[in-house]
């Protein structure tokens, strides 16, 4: 019987009612009294010297309040980078200055040069057109490999080159890896591109800055996945506002997918300008602006090699990756191709020796940072593609080759510095074979052939690392932040609870799933629990939501705080029931004395905490409110196996996804409905990457795919219904809920499944094609067929 309440139940989402009735409160829905509007004048050249900016005519336009340029931000801090990588020689990465508005040079199409504040958005836009810019176009560096050649134009004149860092991991393993390759019975090599993507949450970014002259307090409303992180980065590093004078509010947020983690210049600008003008300042990004100002994702070019012995055991793996940083370092950009990518290169396999080299490169393009999966899709794609290629070269079944090399004993320390706590990769593969009906594939292939179509099957595995932690370790790895999470649980006198969490929901449904955990712990109805998030004024310092960390880290903090609540409530109950604390049991919302019929309801105890007439005042304080900060001991390691079946039209090269199945191990699951929705979304985005999406620059640095007319977003008719399953559960051993995280799995596991399937289809036509780069557009597939 499925449960209808508590952990494992799927209650309907309570946030849905406001979203379904148009009563959500997204940042652009917020309008402050007397607010002005800002329009950013952005560079239309990828690389140019700014000789002069003449704002005289524009300033005289109707409604213009003030025009800001880079000169107004001299003496103001730059946008900080939150992660410092140490390269293979032990040197710190090169870290360029990142001004709020461009100073001296524009470094990508979209770099903000001036900001016009006016009474209306239209007036600001009109006036921006009247600014006279004298810009001298410089050669742009777009291609990563060209950017690191001797003599290449430099994106930043004050750096020694365009190389941000050259990272080796694990550098000490390198000689042993080379030896293993020299002794290998077989080596498979694959060069591939992990295509550059634009995250594209449907809600464009918005920032509203406000300043209260009476108190000297600044407030920023922003579309963020982590308001406390923005408050710290912007307050401490850019504007010099201490946290107690700065409030950051991220209300309903219309999707993030990583790109709303980062601190952006527009947020700092609106906060700064509101104070300078003593007037609220609002910025709403258009979609066109979003394409050239939201951090992009992926954009890796890799060569991966797998070494096998004569029995087809994996003996070593190495990869050389070029990772695009864009023109500046976005908040967490340096960590993505390194710690979020290199540490995952073992995948689900017991490859004993691994070496990862990553060269991060500056180019005249939009900054690149985390996008759903962040580094882990790039690792999984390389690994699962090279294994597939190896299987074909060796003439063995790709699933059998994987199974033969699976890690089967846990905990397992990989050669790339992480320790998997639990997993059962054969179980998820067995489950996948069942739900994908792999045995029925031959018949479906025949049916496709009869229609003149070619069917292919692709299978792969993935492993993910979520809830990156502990803080002291990530500090050693270069993080300039802690990665704990927080929760304050406030119990009201009549028994209802409010949980103030540092996690942030922008589609994940925390308002529904978090109460399920508390309801289960106390034995009360979920409706007695309310979740507050997204406002630094009323939530404890938290790190926010990304990296599939909310339940594993934020949920754990909530559990720890609730445990403190329960411990204190038991003391109160013990006093009233005249028993010892140790004898008090809490079940179904009732405190009872073990072995007796004496009991007290939850509400009686909570009332006593606030009306402490009969109360152990000499031992404990009145009230019932506790805070916990939870810093995990390790990452969590969700894993799974995915299968994709495609049908290829040999006439046109068009690929259609006919079937898609996902068997995931997320450990324990709190709300299966929400978990499955997350998997659906991840798979959809992964299929989007594999078949449709690409951010394409020309040699001059113009983004050619800068609107929904050119950037192909997955739509309903690009996708089928999926088969998803999460019944294989090996609970995480080191967090109190045994949960692992599910937000990114789909986006990590699906691209290789699609590409493996298309290669399978092409090979079944007798074509000697071993790889086609994503996105597998009809043009690319057709060209591959006719090479």
């Amino acid at each position: 019987m499925p449960k209808d309440t508590g952990i494992g139940a799927s209650p309907k989402r309570r946030e849905d009612v406001r979203f379904l009735t148009g009563t959500g409160n997204y940042t652009d829905d917020i309008n402050l009294n007397g607010q002005a509007y800002v329009h950013f004048l952005r560079s239309d050249m990828a690389h140019a010297r700014i000789n002069s900016i003449d704002t005289a005519a524009a300033s005289a336009m109707p409604g213009v309040v003030r025009i800001f340029t880079g000169a107004d931000f001299e003496g103001v801090g730059g946008i900080p980078c939150g992660w410092q990588i140490t390269d293979k020689h032990g040197e710190a990465m090169q870290e360029p200055a990142h001004p709020v508005l461009a100073q001296g040079k524009a470094r990508y199409v979209g770099d903000a040069i001036a900001a016009v504040v006016a009474d209306t958005a239209e007036q600001a836009r009109d006036a921006a057109e009247a600014i006279e810019l004298d810009m001298e176009e410089l050669p742009a560096v777009i291609d990563m490999k060209a950017a690191v050649q001797e003599g290449a134009t430099k994106v930043h004149d004050d750096l020694t080159s365009n190389l941000c860092y050259d990272w080796g991991f694990v550098e000490e393993n390198k000689p042993a890896v080379e030896e293993a390759f020299a002794n290998a019975a077989h080596v498979t090599t694959l060069e591939l591109v992990n295509n550059r993507l634009v995250a594209n949450p449907m809600e464009p970014r918005v920032a509203v800055g406000d300043f209260n002259r009476a108190t000297g307090d600044s407030t920023l409303y922003t579309t963020s996945q982590n308001p406390h992180v923005i408050r710290l980065l912007m307050g401490a590093f850019v504007l010099g506002i201490p946290e107690h004078k700065l409030r950051v509010i991220a209300p309903d947020v219309g999707g993030g997918f990583g790109t709303k983690i980062f601190h952006y210049a527009e947020e700092a600008f609106c906060t700064f300008a509101a104070k300078a003008l003593n007037r609220a300042v609002k910025w709403t990004s258009s979609r066109s602006e979003a394409f050239i100002s939201d951090a992009h994702g992926r954009d890796h070019v890799s060569t991966i090699q797998l070494a096998l012995d004569a029995d087809n055991n994996f003996t070593a793996l190495r990869t050389d990756t070029y990772a695009n940083m864009g023109a500046y370092l976005s908040t967490f950009a340096p960590s993505v191709p390194t710690w979020l990518h290199g540490t995952l290169m073992a995948g689900n396999y017991k490859t004993p020796l691994i070496y990862v080299n990553v060269k991060a490169v500056f180019t005249n393009t939009v900054p690149v940072d985390a996008y759903r999966g962040a580094g882990r899709p790039e690792a999984t794609y390389q690994l699962e593609r090279v294994i597939d290629k190896a299987a074909r070269e060796l003439g063995v079944d790709p699933v059998a080759l994987r199974r033969q090399n699976f890690i089967t004993e846990f905990p397992y320390a990989t050669p790339v510095a992480v320790e998997y706590d639990t997993g059962d990769y054969n179980a998820t593969m067995d489950k996948l074979e069942e739900i994908a009906d792999i045995s029925g594939f031959a018949a479906r292939r025949a049916a496709s052939e009869a229609k003149g179509k070619v069917r292919g099957l692709g299978v792969n595995c993935y492993i993910e690392a979520c809830g990156i932690a502990p803080s002291n370790l990530v500090g050693q790895l270069g993080a300039r932040a802690g990665l704990y999470e927080s929760a304050t649980v406030r119990v009201n006198a009549t028994g209802g609870l409010v949980v103030m969490t540092g996690s942030h929901s922008h589609g994940q449904g925390h308002e529904t799933s978090f109460p399920q955990v508390i309801a289960e712990m106390i034995g009360i109805d979920e409706s007695m629990v309310e979740i507050v998030h997204g406002d630094t004024a009323n939530t404890p310092m938290g790190m926010g939501t990304y990296g599939s960390r909310s339940l594993a880290v934020g949920g754990s903090a909530m559990v720890r705080a609730t445990e403190k609540i329960i411990a204190k409530a038991k003391k109160i109950a013990a006093h009233i029931l005249e028993a010892s604390d140790a004898d008090i049991e809490l079940k179904d919302g009732q405190f009872s004395v073990a072995g007796t019929d004496k009991s007290l309801a939850w509400g009686d105890v909570t009332l006593a905490a606030y009306v402490p007439h009969n109360y152990p005042l000499e031992d404990i304080e009145p009230g019932l409110e506790e805070t916990a900060f939870y810093d995990p001991a390790n990452f969590t390691y969700p894993s799974g196996a995915y299968a994709c079946e495609v049908e290829l039209d040999p006439e046109t090269g068009k690929v259609s996804i006919e079937r898609f199945a996902a068997a995931d191990d997320f450990g324990n699951v709190v709300n299966p409905m929400i978990v499955e929705g997350q998997v659906h979304g991840g798979i959809g985005q992964g299929i989007g990457q594999a078949l449709l999406e690409a951010a394409v620059y020309n040699d001059e640095g113009q983004l050619l795919s800068a609107s929904y007319m050119d950037y192909a977003m997955p739509r309903a008719d690009d996708l089928p219904f999926y088969q998803v399953d999460h019944s294989c559960q090996t609970p995480c051993t080191h967090n109190p809920l045994g949960v692992k995280g599910c937000g990114e799995a789909g986006a990590i596991g699906s691209p290789p499944a699609v590409v493996n399937a298309v290669v399978d289809a092409l090979q079944s036509m007798g074509k000697d094609i071993t790889h086609v780069d994503m996105p597998l557009s009809p043009a690319r597939v057709w060209s591959a067929m006719h090479e």
Partner: protein, 161 residues
């Protein structure tokens, strides 16, 4: 500035618009119907779908002045006056047809138009009809399922939401 008057969700509403003001911004900024969302500037995403004189329209592709005197229906007017969700809204909640909720108003308004012209659309017909509505949470599996359920079709054979 011109004064523009229309009926929104059955009630008279009017405000000032420039010649270039889009219906989407007029509804959001001038009249306060912020349930209509703006997700793009090329008429592709469908977050802004409303009904004008009974026809589904991307409100970002229409000028406010063109809607002078029209009957406009927005997401805010879809539930019953007591707040009870309509069949489509309820099906979206029941089948987890929304995540961040940003595309949702447009999805619900498009669905209403679809079901008016085709009361029992097939899966394929729904997918094709939603060509103009993008959901980046990419929850199409449950959106399509919710629409099938809203049109009274048995969805129990489709993998669980």
């Amino acid at each position: 500035m011109t004064k523009v008057s229309m009926t929104v969700n059955g009630k008279a509403a009017s405000g000032d618009a420039e010649g270039r003001t889009l219906l989407s911004s007029f509804l959001r900024e001038e009249l306060g119907f912020t349930g209509t969302h703006v997700g793009c500037d090329t008429s592709q995403c469908g977050a802004c779908v409303v009904h004008v004189n009974g026809v589904a329209v991307k409100s970002c592709t229409m000028l406010a002045v063109e809607a002078e005197g029209a009957e406009v229906a927005t997401i805010e007017g879809q539930a019953a006056p007591d707040g009870t969700l309509n069949t489509i809204q309820q099906a979206f909640q029941d089948h987890h047809g929304l995540q961040c909720g940003f595309c949702t108003p447009g999805m619900v308004m498009s669905t209403a138009a679809l079901l008016k012209e085709n009361p029992k659309p097939s899966e394929q017909e729904i997918r094709e009809y939603l060509e103009g509505n993008i959901c980046r949470c990419t929850g199409y599996h449950n959106i399509v399922k919710a629409i099938m359920a809203a049109s009274g079709q048995d969805v129990s054979a489709i993998a669980a939401e």
